[in-house]
Symmetry: C2
Subunit: 641 residues, 2 copies
């Protein structure tokens, strides 16, 4: 077969802008020239072999560039990043250019074989892997040092020459997606595959988890409603509810792993090989030799990092935890004061006042969480982790511990120190509902409103009567570059995590929590979808095979909730009345039940396989094939001897 394509198809007619590069205003000419040359240069010369085109704005300033690539270049890039696609025989395989004909929907002229998000991911990967050869610095900026192998784009970003890189929205596709996702009132699943095609796997998996979690909460909510309606207070009904909840939460977390495997197998990320991790952009150190790669790169002593973690970060986190507890005690003083006030002058106003401390506390908690978040980010970045994954893990750990204490300490205090179940129920309800309203507002509605106002002004200024579709590329870029940047799924998962805590930790006191959670999540799906489609710049797709450390966080929460629920049931007056003679027997029984439940949980987690049988079979088949191929290769070689 004669290759009918060549890299010469870099003619403008083929150019489809995929990614936008915004340089700082006033960037020196020689820098721009050098950078664009490196981007279009052949691979053989160490370039990225992409297409680039300056965007001429109305005011004549030329600091924005559009990046694209030829179809062939993208296919070769797909092989480099190790994309996994579906074959004609419905199996998933790593894409290679030489085996391209065996893939489903592949045709030399089908430019939709790779989704736009995949193309953008490939371009991002190629840009990030554009490395310095023997440049000692960025031309024109002697202070921006380079060394052989250093990623040029990362240095440009850290030295402020490159303002941002972001993928362009596809207005047509986005409109279709919006319509099928939240555009019409309907009961049904989200179009996860479409979301994945447009936003990538990480975001699609978050929405998948959100949807799954909402469905999983429905049984709890349904069972919880009659407890509220009929005001059931019998201990056996509570025990049943709590037991069901505890086992159910184990089941749903295990089943999620299976669903996650099904989704990511279909999306190809389950089979995608992990790429070698580069140092994260913010990492700094003296130039040395990396013992793993043998390359020259910044090296930072692990001991120093450990010292920073244990001597600065850890004490700081403890201090914050202490402060959070201190604020909690103030809240209880306020609560007491409101109660006294209510007793002294009983009126409608005073009974309303009873709720004020809780609401204030909920707001303060939210504010403290957000401030702490900045501190945690600063500290973790100061710890100077080499890898993004290690940075993320340390950040998540810091934030989780603090948010957990901040949100639940008061409830623990009420439950296990004050023993006031009525107050517990009331606080739980206030905290849950306030935090949900605050979140929805701060996360989606406010940015949406701001964005909408800004867009309207922009459009008015640009051109009076054009609709979305008629916007020129220049106008689109101009509008999108001002949009906020989506910072990842961290906050969204955190919100779900805390919600799971509200629902499960004290489920036997307040069965209605699940109902509120379900209601919140339904609107959350819509507001998060709105946020993704309307408020933020399109994010780059991030391939991922699971929800990572969050699985562990949710499982830990469900273990803790076994303990809390057992204690709560043990403390209820109905159970108390069952052991009139000996409190000892009561405590021992509760402890025994708790251990049994924990044991059952662990056995269940162990027995339920993490991947469904058919996925296991498919994976085994792939493994078998690759082993056979290797054997064939060895045999072929040996035959030659």
């Amino acid at each position: 077969v004669v290759e009918s394509w060549s890299f010469l198809d870099t003619v403008e007619s083929n150019f489809r802008p995929l990614v936008v590069i915004e340089l700082a205003k006033g960037t020196k000419e020689e820098t721009i020239e050098w950078f664009t040359k490196r981007i279009v240069d052949k691979k053989a010369n160490g370039g990225a072999q992409l297409l680039i085109k300056p965007l001429v704005m109305e005011n004549g300033v030329e600091n924005i560039y559009l990046v694209g690539a030829s179809h062939l270049r993208l296919l070769l890039g797909a092989e480099t990043v190790g994309l996994v696609k579906e074959c004609s025989d419905n199996s998933m395989r790593t894409f290679t250019y030489s085996s391209r004909k065996t893939f489903k929907d592949f045709a030399d002229d089908n430019h939709n074989f790779l989704t736009m998000a995949e193309c953008q991911y490939i371009i991002k990967h190629e840009l990030e892997n554009l490395r310095a050869k023997n440049e000692k610095m960025i031309p024109g900026y002697p202070q921006a040092k380079l060394y052989p192998g250093k990623s040029i784009v990362r240095r440009l970003l850290t030295s402020g020459i490159l303002v941002q890189i972001f993928p362009l929205h596809d207005r047509e596709e986005l409109k279709k997606l919006r319509h099928s996702w939240y555009g019409r009132v309907k009961v049904g699943y989200q179009p996860l595959d479409d979301i994945r095609c447009y936003f990538g796997e990480t975001i699609a998996l978050y929405f998948g988890f959100l949807e799954y979690f909402t469905f999983a909460l429905i049984p709890m909510a349904v069972i919880g409603i009659p407890y509220y309606v009929f005001a059931w207070e019998d201990y056996d009904k509570y025990v049943m509810f709590a037991t069901f909840n505890l086992l159910w939460s184990t089941v749903i977390l295990e089943v999620w792993k299976r669903i996650c495997a099904v989704l990511t197998y279909r999306w190809g990320t389950l089979l995608m090989k992990r790429q070698f991790e580069e140092p994260r952009p913010g990492f700094h150190g003296v130039l040395g030799i990396n013992p793993v790669t043998g390359r020259e790169e910044p090296v930072y002593s692990s001991l120093k990092r450990q010292l920073r973690i244990y001597l600065v970060s850890l004490p700081f986190v403890c201090l914050c935890l202490y402060f959070s507890l201190y604020v909690m005690m103030i809240y209880f003083d306020l609560e007491q004061w409101a109660l006294d006030y209510h007793k002294e002058n009983e009126s409608n106003f005073s009974s309303l006042m009873l709720y004020v401390p809780s609401i204030i506390y909920a707001v303060v908690i939210e504010i403290m969480n957000r401030i702490y978040r900045y501190a945690a980010e600063f500290l973790t970045s100061w710890e100077n982790h080499r890898l993004e994954s290690s940075y993320q893990n340390h950040l998540i750990l810091k934030v989780l511990v603090f948010n957990f204490l901040n949100c639940f300490a008061s409830l623990f205090y009420i439950a296990f120190v004050l023993f006031d179940m009525k107050l517990l129920r009331q606080s739980l309800a206030t905290l849950l509902i306030t935090s949900q309203i605050l979140n929805q507002f701060a996360e989606s509605l406010l940015p949406y409103w701001l964005q909408k106002r800004y867009n309207r002004r922009m459009k008015k200024r640009l051109c009076s009567q054009k609709t979305d579709r008629d916007l020129s590329i220049a106008e689109q870029v101009n509008m999108e570059k001002e949009m906020g940047t989506y910072l990842g799924t961290f906050d969204d998962y955190l919100e779900l995590f805390l919600q799971f805590g509200y629902v499960s930790l004290f489920s036997c006191v307040y069965p209605l929590a699940a109902v509120f959670a379900v209601l919140n999540n339904i609107t959350e799906i819509y507001s998060d979808a709105l946020k993704m489609c309307r408020v933020y710049k399109r994010p780059f797709a991030e391939p991922t095979a699971n929800i990572g450390v969050w699985q562990l966080a949710f499982e830990t929460m469900s273990v803790i909730s076994v303990v809390t629920n057992c204690i709560l049931i043990g403390m209820s007056p109905q159970v108390d009345a069952l052991f009139p003679d000996s409190k000892m027997d009561l405590v021992l029984t509760v402890a025994l039940v708790e251990h049994l439940l924990l044991a059952i949980k662990f056995i269940m987690a162990f027995v339920i396989p993490d991947k469904p049988r058919d996925i296991q079979m498919k994976l085994a088949k792939l493994e078998f094939e690759s082993l056979e191929a290797l054997k064939q290769q060895v045999r072929a070689f040996q035959m030659q001897l």
Copy 2:
């Protein structure tokens, strides 16, 4: 480079016997002819391309064959099985014939590059992978069906034509090994690397674990002695001892993973790729298509297996557990009777009688364990598992649960139902010591004595004054083929597991248990070494990277021991006296401490990395290299376009 070797070096002068094949007496000529032809046939013709030589015995019967291979054949086989060896630059790499010159100690005329155990493992692998082409049955035995791809050796074994295949001992090497291992009285480590060279990784890892575990118990033993000597009964000392024990047991299990990684990295098995698992020899079913391999092979419905497991095996195991509890109750009746007898007629004899029930019970436990073991093996084999690993896991689970209950139920009963700490201590001591003595006797000394007697008779019959070294191959084979077969490390690990239970479950009642365990393990090392070198046929080497399911079993035991120890301390009269007013506070405190300890355990297990930093670096380096190589390959291909 011109290849100077060829497969023609099959001349007898080069022949070194490595593996012995014993056929059934009276095997038909045509079968032998067909089988030996398949063994020597070229790889291209579907043979194993090995060397085979009949062993002519004195009585002229010719049913024993010696198998060897040319040096080149073994090197190619090493590539096929994926052996990992050390390179000249001290890194570990998968051996390939084409890169052979880069490996340490490699020379075309160095026939010791592969250890004898490795050569034997390669031959075993090649024999087992000798597959039927289009034979429908074994020639001469129409009832022994074959289908394309069926392993010939496995069919020969299951149809009884092939009696056994075993590797030959190397008398020289064995003598050296014996000397350095247990031949002289010395304080020091075992020669693990030599053991691994001679017996393979699985056995070396067992001895490594045994040694490590013994060392790890020493601190417990040292701290435990003064408790006995000075008869310390203060609660704070007990709490300290128990707390130390619990944390210590977590630490040692985590540290073992690291040591295991160091050992198996050095031995190359940490990097060795898992081979595709064949159906186990005993597996049967109707011929169908395996969905994974696409090959014709027996298929057995997973549902049927599940039914067998849950409807037959599970009830049977429960019945056995019930029976074991029943026997326990009889023991307590006996115990009571002995006590009454002692009270009525107090004498030396009657006080001796007090120990009789415990000893009888210990013996009965051992007998029940052994009988149950056979039943469990029968049942698990009847469950018809397709893979050896799945068979092993189900067998281990069955045996572990029963042995755990059988050994510890009486102790739990005494501790938590009778609340008799004195009896607990006494029973624990009796059980521990009796079972240790029984084990040492049944496992090593008895077989050794039998073997020795048999050897002496054999030698006398064969030739009167020859020493070991002068034995001809024929005589050596004749002697070794009658030796027992080593059935794997299962029993040895089980013994250690139960010992760990005796030491840790009730450690705060009987600190001296660790001392006995250490003493037992020191002699155990010697008696196990004796067993391996003197009593059993040489086993085939089994590459392995860890101790597998036993790690989990030991960790589970250490979790259970946290619970038992906390309860024991809570029940001690000294702690009781601390809470004179409220038993509630006591129980709550104990529960709190228990949960704290469990939390600390899990956090420690999470924080301590499973592999030491330098091993992590080496693995990362290898992964980086293979990713780079892949990238180079892709790039080279793309350059051609």
